[in-house]
């Protein structure tokens, strides 16, 4: 392994960590503003111009708050749980191509950490592990709300993961590869070749599963503030809670990237315009996450299970069968 590769990888890791931690913070600001405008409010206005420095204020608050480990919690698990959420969110990013490759100082940079040939499998698997954060944190918290949230997390987990996998199977059959770069190259021929047109059902199913995965409204059940306080996060404070938060928002960004690359053409032919288009798509999907939060009600956990098992799973299976038949002839 040569030194240049090592240095490049470390630099990439640092850049991804920094950019997405900052983006997670900025995402909260963006979310508060968008929700506020949709509800005819102004949102944060006091810290800095138009409340822009609110992120800094929140960050300082989270970092300097006392780290409380309450009585009766299972200490080690309680402490490790937020790290699992944040770490797996960022680990999943390793297989995502954020940009087309470009040349800098005569050196070709691939803005992807590891172009492994099972990229999607890896991303979904690691994001799935991320659910251990809420699970363990809730169980270790010695708090009834956290426990309810854990039970919900488990029930949601066994529902949506099926949909994620089955929904992706049909596009996978068409592309014939698990690498996100191959997905991107499959759709290089412009808007008409986007997979969303040939696999609209899979697209809708995957977006629904993505909402369940990131725990956003209408599937905001695990940490549903108005029902079970903050769910698994009830007993957390300071930076531990902040890690959960960063994990959640980083996950939202990464899922947006995955959706944009899988179904919406990714960065296209790899030109600068394609990179901008990818950013625009990601921004729109992220905006859609916030948009639905302002517009849609939450479903109950049993409704989510009903939806996943009785409606979405049969549709996904039928979709796969039809795709197979079409590909065969």
């Amino acid at each position: 392994m040569d030194i240049a590769f090592l240095i490049e990888t470390v630099v990439k890791i640092v850049v991804i960590l920094l950019v997405f931690s900052a983006l997670a913070g900025f995402g909260t600001y963006f979310e508060r503003k968008v929700l506020a405008f949709m509800q005819r409010r102004l949102g944060p206005m006091h810290v800095g111009p138009y409340g822009l420095l609110q992120i800094a204020a929140d960050g300082i608050k989270l970092f300097t708050k006392e780290d409380i480990v309450p009585q009766n919690v299972v200490g080690p698990i309680f402490k490790i749980a937020p790290v699992i959420t944040a770490a797996t969110a960022f680990m999943a990013a390793a297989a995502i191509p954020f940009m087309p490759s470009f040349t800098m100082f005569g050196y070709e940079v691939h803005p992807i950490l590891a172009d492994i040939n099972i990229g999607i499998l890896y991303i979904l698997g690691v994001m799935g592990i991320g659910l251990y954060g809420p699970l363990l944190g809730g169980l270790a918290s010695a708090n009834k709300w956290a426990l309810i949230s854990t039970a919900r997390a488990a029930s949601i987990f066994i529902s949506y993961e099926v949909i994620t996998g089955l929904a992706l199977l049909a596009p996978l059959m068409m592309v014939g590869s698990l690498s996100l770069i191959d997905f991107n190259n499959y759709q290089v021929g412009g808007i008409a070749s986007w997979i969303v047109w040939s696999q609209p059902v899979a697209f809708v199913l995957f977006v629904i599963a993505g909402f369940a995965e990131t725990g956003r409204t209408p599937f905001h059940l695990v940490a549903n503030d108005h029902e079970i306080i903050d769910g698994f996060g009830t007993e957390y404070s300071g930076m531990r809670w902040g890690l959960f938060f960063i994990g959640e928002y980083a996950n939202m960004f990464f899922i947006s990237f995955v959706i944009a690359i899988l179904f919406l053409g990714g960065y296209g032919d790899g030109s600068g315009l394609g990179a901008l288009a990818l950013l625009a798509k990601v921004s729109f999907i992220f905006f859609f996450f916030l948009w639905t939060r302002a517009a849609w009600p939450d479903v109950r956990p049993d409704q989510l299970m009903w939806l996943c098992w009785k409606v979405l799973m049969p549709i996904a299976v039928i979709n796969i069968v039809i795709t197979g038949i079409v590909m065969m002839f």
Binding site: V34, A36, F37, M38, Q39, R40, R41, L42, M45, W291, T292, A294, A295, W296, V311
Partner: protein, 205 residues
């Protein structure tokens, strides 16, 4: 809403109507049909459109509180104020004790004595705002319009005793003399047509 509608107390007949909600389906096929109609009706997109429309209309209703404040109604009952007479600037309170008597939470405490002109003088007057329920009885019963409810609703102090003292509630004397003391038009105040409504006291008996 027009005034007639507002004064018509028979509300049951003017503004209410039955919403047409179909019964819950009992058969399995009925449930499937309901699920299908809910899925394809596009109501979720109506919701999306409504919030998006509000966002682009940008009709913001936020009041940026410390910089902007909503007007307070004249009958708003916030922390009490003790008024002075215009021009002379004498305290209006005559120490009659009615407010102390009527206060239902017993939070007014006053001591009086006769001063050198044989006029009653209030020596000590406090309202325990921790117990006051801001009912307004004291303002209503006061014969001199001396104790009134002011519009001051922002009270910050490290001790609540700090704004309960008579001297804190009293209008500053220069404000009274220069006529900038605001006359109270809320609870128990003189209404505009009071002259016509007052009946002369028959002195014959």
């Amino acid at each position: 809403m027009s005034l007639e509608q507002f004064q018509d107390r028979n509300v049951a007949e003017q503004n209410y109507f039955h919403v047409d909600i179909p019964d819950y389906p009992t058969t399995g096929w009925g449930k499937v049909k309901r699920a299908a109609s809910r899925t394809f009706k596009g109501e979720l997109f109506v919701g999306l459109w409504v919030v998006f429309r509000e966002m682009i209309k940008f009709d913001i209703h936020t009041v940026q509180y410390p910089k902007e404040k909503l007007p307070v109604g004249p009958r708003y009952r916030a922390v009490h104020e003790m008024q002075r007479l215009f021009e002379s600037g004498t305290e209006r309170c005559i120490g009659c004790g009615l407010c102390e008597k009527i206060c239902i939470s017993n939070c007014i405490r006053m001591e009086t004595k006769l001063d050198e002109n044989s006029r009653k003088l209030v020596t000590d007057y406090t309202i325990n705002l921790g117990r006051c329920i801001f009912c307004g009885y004291c303002a209503e019963v006061c014969p001199e319009l001396a104790i009134v409810h002011g519009p001051r609703y922002e009270n910050v102090s490290d001790q609540r005793a700090h704004f309960t003292d008579f001297s804190d509630m009293l209008t500053p004397i220069d404000a009274a003399i220069s006529g900038t003391q605001k006359e109270f038009d809320g609870f128990g105040a003189v209404t505009p047509h009071e002259d016509e409504r007052v009946k002369t006291t028959p002195l014959a008996y």
